[in-house]
């Protein structure tokens, strides 16, 4: 019933471009909820229990991802939430690279 342009107040661009689907957002419980739109309140309620990925926030809000990103950008700006990139999987150097290093060391020694 409430269309996305009313939710974002007509904006389509998030104030920051740091969100992707797996970015985790966490709410700061000490921030007041007054003056927040119902959707932003809902984001706060969702995230107060722990971190939630952007994709999940979209799912719960039933809003498109790009619209949710605008809301999340606002909330980060106002200090209500903070975003964190997901913990990357451990990156192992490639075998070939290791082999080259080994070869190089052997040649040197």
């Amino acid at each position: 019933m409430v269309r996305p342009y009313v939710v974002t107040d007509g904006r389509a661009y998030p104030t920051r471009n740091t969100f992707d689907l797996v970015t985790l957002v966490m709410a700061h419980p000490d921030r007041p909820l007054t003056g927040l739109s119902p959707e932003k309140r809902r984001v706060m309620e969702l995230c107060l229990g722990g971190a939630l990925s952007v994709a999940e926030v979209c799912g719960y809000l039933e809003l498109p991802v790009s619209v949710t990103k605008v809301l999340l950008g606002d909330l980060v700006d106002s200090g209500h939430i903070s975003a964190r990139a997901p913990i990357p999987p451990a990156e192992l150097p490639e075998v070939q690279l290791l082999q080259e290093v080994l070869d190089g060391l052997r040649a040197r020694l």
Partner: protein, 530 residues
């Protein structure tokens, strides 16, 4: 002798003269009377002529005009004719003419309404279809440039849909959508979505009151028309203030604009339209047609709320007040609504447990990625039994499931983790075995599966779980079908699910009947086992 004769002659003459005189006088009197009468008759004839001309020139056209602006009809021009047979005949002519005009008017109105209604229905359907497509596109595209364009199209489409809807309602059709009971704030914001200058509308005071589902769409449409009026009749740099106020026997939506306001005549006309008592004439809404108040009045009369615009706003414009009586209000429990699983006590602790999507179909399953942090939790904390879950059988099933599946085995594939099916003796109308998909509705490939000696979690790739085709709807049955008695909110049940249920029911009935007929043909209760 001659004297006598002459005397007699003179007497005779005198008498004759007298007679002639008398006759002359009488004749004169008669002539005068006839002349007078003649004059009167002439006068009367002229009066009737004038009266007929008056009828044609003034009185009959006034009947035709009176349909748009009711007022006293002009009477006889010459009061002397009142009560005569002539006046009665004129009256009969007037009445017949009035009837004929009424009939023609109502016929024209009905055909105009029917034509408009049919075409607006088609337009409305297209607008709704387009809205669905736009929503899908908004879901699909992640690019802000695309989103900006889509938002513009969406906005135009919403206004377009509202216009079509308003005209259709004015022509006697229904608002065309049934919605779940929604909060008053959402009603106002839904209305805000449908007007051009939505950014100027400021909504204050979020109160915790909802509108019953029957009235949601009409209220949205009425508020949208009022907001549109307010925004259209005020400067583009002013704002339209909306406040929601709980009152003793209902709630009010107060819309203030800082516009030009309305003068006494306009207020009177608006009050007439808003009362909802008068039938609205589609062909007489002015040029350009002004639908706003007519639609609002019609909806108010039909659904039992009331609207007034006769107060002046403190900002100088008009203050429109839409009053919803208590019987149109309710309280909506956010937990009880499908698609809003976030109020669920578990919804907000995704790092400790898997995100629960029980009350929500996994619409975004392809989007929802694995949150890597989940796999690094040492051991999944046993899921809290959702005792506050609004649906009783849903609350029981996870508890039962938890009792028989300890934490270490929680990560099994859904078909393994299902608790035993309900005892066959119990013919449960809703065979809701367990919301097993709560463990893996998102299709993540990995699960915590025991721990290593060092306390690190072991992961095992889940084997392709061939979920039985019936699993979808059986598990879904736990979530759907329950209606909130207050709000009338039915949980969504997909067409496929419904079809498969009906199919199962039909198959069961058929097999039951055939079994009965085969084994006990003499039983006359054919549906004993059904």
């Amino acid at each position: 002798m001659t004297d006598h004769i002459s005397e007699a002659v003179s007497w005779c003459l005198a008498a004759a003269l007298l007679v002639v005189l008398v006759l002359l006088i009488r004749q004169r009197q008669i002539t005068a009377g006839v002349r007078r009468r003649n004059a009167t008759l002439e006068e009367s004839l002229r009066a009737r002529d004038e009266e007929v001309r008056h009828l044609v020139d003034v009185r009959l056209p006034s009947i035709a005009d009176a349909l748009s602006q009711p007022g006293p009809l002009p009477g006889l021009r010459d009061e002397k004719l009142a009560g005569t047979a002539f006046a009665q005949s004129l009256h009969a002519v007037m009445e017949q003419f009035t009837r004929a005009v009424d009939k023609a008017q109502s016929r024209a109105d009905a055909s105009a309404k029917a034509a408009l209604k049919a075409s607006m229905r088609a337009v409305q359907g297209l607008a709704n279809e387009q809205q669905v497509s736009i929503s899908e596109m908004q879901e699909r595209h992640d690019n802000p440039d695309v989103l900006r364009d889509l938002l513009e199209i969406d906005h135009a489409n919403a206004q377009f849909g509202r216009r079509a809807q308003a005209i259709a309602v004015l022509c006697g059709s229904w608002p065309g959508r049934q919605r779940l009971a929604s909060s008053l704030t959402d009603v106002v914001r839904g209305a805000k979505s449908r007007i051009r200058d939505y950014q100027r509308v400021q909504v204050h005071a979020l109160i915790d009151v909802a509108v019953v589902s029957r009235v949601v769409e009409p209220a949205v449409l009425a508020v949208a028309e009022l907001l549109d009026n307010a925004a259209r009749h005020s400067q583009p740099n002013t704002s339209v203030e909306v406040s929601l106020q709980p009152v003793h026997n209902g709630a009010c939506i107060v819309i203030d604009d800082a516009g030009v306001g309305m003068d006494g005549l306009e207020v009177q006309r608006a009050a007439g339209l808003l009362s909802g008592q008068r039938a609205v004439d589609v062909v007489r809404l002015g040029d350009p047609p002004q639908f706003g108040f007519a639609v609002v009045g019609l909806l108010a009369g039909r659904y039992g709320f009331s609207v007034s615009v006769d107060t002046r706003s403190p900002y100088g414009g008009v203050r429109a007040v839409l009053f919803l009586p208590t019987e149109l209000l309710t309280h909506v429990d956010p937990d009880a609504r499908p698609g809003t699983a976030g109020q669920d006590p578990e919804g907000a602790e995704p790092l400790h447990t898997l995100p629960s999507r029980r009350t929500r179909p996994p619409r975004r399953a392809p989007h929802a990625p694995t949150v890597p942090a989940q796999a690094q939790e040492p051991s999944p904390i046993p899921r809290r039994a959702p005792a506050q879950s609004p649906i009783p059988h849903q609350a029981q099933a996870p508890a039962a499931h938890q009792a028989q599946s300890p934490a270490a085995h929680q990560a099994q594939a859904p078909h393994q983790a299902q608790p035993p099916a309900p005892a066959p003796a119990a013919p449960a109308p809703e065979p809701a075995p367990a919301p097993a998909p709560q463990l893996s509705p998102d299709g993540e490939g990995t699960r915590v599966y025991g721990t290593t000696a060092g306390g690190l979690p072991k992961r095992r790739r889940r084997e392709a779980a061939a979920t039985p085709p019936s699993g979808d709807w059986t598990t879904g049955a736990g979530q759907t079908g329950a209606a909130d008695p207050d709000t009338g909110a039915f949980r969504a049940r997909s067409a496929k699910e419904t079809a498969s249920r009906m199919g199962a029911f039909a198959r069961g009935t058929r097999s039951g009947r055939s079994a009965t007929q085969d084994s006990a043909a003499h039983h006359d209760e054919g549906n004993r086992q059904a």
